[in-house]
Symmetry: C2
Subunit: 432 residues, 2 copies
């Protein structure tokens, strides 16, 4: 039997502690199934740990350099989060010849190229299954499972907080602010929910998945983005009436000249697989030229689920090390790869447009004219009965149209003095 893999955990918060717990509680299962033994020998946190919080048999320190340098640490788990300090820790570990496992999407989005290049140059693995959709092994699925396919499209629910809020609005008729408050009380949303509800977190994750899927580099800032703050209880109501559900979708799709990347709320058919993904779950729908469509779904975050992703990387490193065959597999799309060409003319799609107006004659004609000016065909107009006349919400759905045309029409309409609130635009996949 080979010696156990000795694990040093830097950043002993929720994920770090869950990782230590998983390694302790599942030690026998892991050994039986994989033949590997892993033991936590060091943990590091900036603030001192109570003795009871330190894993049995492990040393605790407040100085990460002690963990990286420790003779009894074979692999470093980075769960501090953030970019600057995390990058320093990962660099130091790789330079010390120690494999690293990270759960840090921000780090990879900002410094992934540099870190994977270093890992590859040193032939040292850098695992990151936990960085996207913690409880869904989607990094493996795209980088390895689909490695032979030509990927055409990817649609993901990558932010559990936004999905929880949209699900609560749909199921319980809540307004956005109420659902957000409940998410905060349940511990699913931060006090400042900007990263989640504005789609920034989903965008950063999409950048990583798009790199893996298309083998080229893309900065998150280049991805079109619309959050869910503009979605109201009225929209959830109209969505239901139309047979749909609203979800925040991170999408990548091949089009003319390159890949179209966006994060925005979509109106999905209520029976579609992605609409069935509720609460804090994550999911990725992957379409390949030869495989067709695959769905992967599961819990998006949380300590226990994320720790399983960390441990899966650790077990892979343990097995390679036991065989004397450590190697760095640079993931597709990271390192010295070309920049991703983005689509110049994104594929046309149908849209849902909700307008809130002061009721008076001529409004529909004015809106229809603005759409016609952009060559956009109206599919349907819906107005639920019983609404306040001074603040009337109604909906236009369109035939497939370019995002740019729809936005131009939106701007035109929003200049009109009958408008009482910003237009909400949803990409529609109702008829798919």
């Amino acid at each position: 039997m080979s010696a156990p893999l000795r694990v040093g955990i830097v950043g002993f918060g929720v994920v770090g502690q869950s990782t230590a717990q998983t390694l302790a509680e599942h030690a026998e299962d892991i050994h039986r199934r994989t033949g590997q033994r892993l033991a936590v020998t060091w943990v590091c946190r900036r603030t001192p740990l109570a003795p009871a919080a330190i894993p049995a048999g492990a040393c605790a320190t407040q100085d990460w350099r002690a963990v990286v340098a420790a003779a009894d640490v074979d692999v470093v788990v980075e769960t501090v989060g953030g970019v600057q300090a995390a990058a320093e820790i990962v660099r130091a570990a790789l330079e010390a010849g120690k494999p690293v496992v990270t759960a840090n999407k921000n780090l990879l989005a900002a410094r992934g190229d540099e870190l994977f290049a270093l890992a590859q140059a040193r032939h040292i693995p850098l695992g990151f299954e936990a960085a996207v959709a913690g409880g869904v092994p989607v990094v493996r699925a795209i980088a390895e499972g689909a490695a032979g396919d030509r990927l055409i499209a990817l649609r993901g629910i990558l932010n559990g907080t936004a999905n929880y809020i949209l699900t609560r609005m749909e199921e319980d008729g809540l307004e956005f602010e109420t659902a957000l408050g409940e998410a905060q009380r349940a511990g699913y949303a931060e006090a400042d929910p900007t990263l989640d509800v504005e789609g920034i977190d989903a965008r950063d994750k999409l950048a990583i998945l798009a790199r893996l899927a298309f083998g080229a580099r893309v900065e998150p800032e280049r991805i079109a983005r619309q959050g869910i703050r503009g979605v109201t209880a009225v929209d959830a109501h109209y969505a239901r009436a139309l047979g749909g559900s609203i979800r925040l979708i991170a999408a990548a799709e091949r089009g003319p000249g390159g890949v179209d990347l966006s994060v925005r709320p979509w109106l999905l058919a209520r029976n579609s697989m992605l609409a069935r993904v509720t609460g804090v779950n994550n999911a990725v729908l992957l379409t390949g030229a030869r495989t067709g469509t695959q769905l992967f779904s599961g819990p998006g975050a949380g300590g226990p689920a994320t720790s399983i992703a960390v441990v899966s990387d650790l077990i892979e490193i343990a097995a390679a090390r036991a065989a004397g065959r450590l190697a760095a597999k640079a993931p597709p799309g990271f390192g010295t790869v070309p920049e991703m060409a983005l689509c110049t003319q994104p594929p046309e799609a149908p849209w849902y447009m909700r307008l809130t107006v002061a009721d008076r004659p001529g409004i529909v004609a004015r809106v229809a004219a603005a759409l016609a000016e952009q060559d956009i065909n109206i599919d349907a107009v819906a107005q639920e009965p019983g609404m306040e006349k001074s603040r009337l919400s109604w909906v236009v759905t369109t035939e497939p149209a370019a995002a740019a045309s729809v936005r131009a029409a939106q701007e035109e309409i929003e200049k009109c003095d009958f408008m009482r609130a910003p237009i909400l635009l949803l990409r529609s996949a109702l008829k798919e």
Copy 2:
């Protein structure tokens, strides 16, 4: 740049030819995303190939030994199917020091222990992602992604033919024989559909997944099995009325004393993720102690989708070889592992029981008495109006009860002279 991995394909049918096509058509994509180049140098089929069917630049032969021995073959793809010849081919390749990729579940179910032990002894990879649920990378998901979790349950739709038939019965009200005929005409079912509709194919795949999930050996013959021949249009109708869908489910679940393994038709809630898996798709729902529930779904079979699974294994081998680090990762549950302990008392579950009777007084009382004798509580009795009095189908759903008790009651009831057809028993997950 390292030399391309030279691939010899033995068994040049649907999957073999699709693999050659994928490697040719996706060569540039694969190289860009993974840095690997792969080329088919030999193909073998028992019957001669037309020149047009031979991949460009490859040699063709009718003798598999020529492929295994060829100096310009680095890895052997086994897509002949069956057990005896396939085992000989895989053994010979491993003994010649050549990695093997197989899509052959029958081979692994029958000879997996021996072949993986050989691969491990020689430190040579034996890939088999394609052997279960071709278009879903579920082998990776269970063996690697979930390697750190303690798995509690697995439910899979592992046979696309059976799922196609059940979906057609549900959507179009077809009888079993009609739906089977359509599956045969569409090329989804064999002339002799026994392996698919009796659950034998699903059982063999479940044996492989259960090994991976629980790390122990199990012979397919030890798995309880009920096919879908007994499901009728009346059952599809009752299922719909109850808010459910019928699916053939391969299930593994930890219980007292071991794992409960079965393949049988289930009544699922129509909104559940597995019920949303329609047509020839496959899916696996995996529940881990820490991850919670994950779903993986996609096309179950077909040349193109299966070829992507074969190619994913080939790319992994190419990368390991390029790094000079070929190694055999023995999958969990294969090789010299203990026999799986099976559950002595399977978990209780609710059931759906459809009876076809000659209408006369006292039948419900007799059936209720037989159930009461086994301590089974009735949940509901349903009878749709407008049925023939001489052949009346009605349904009893039960509270959770042991499979053995339900079967005992079934035997008792089937002895009654008012019975006009065998009882259909479905495990019910309507209320989950």
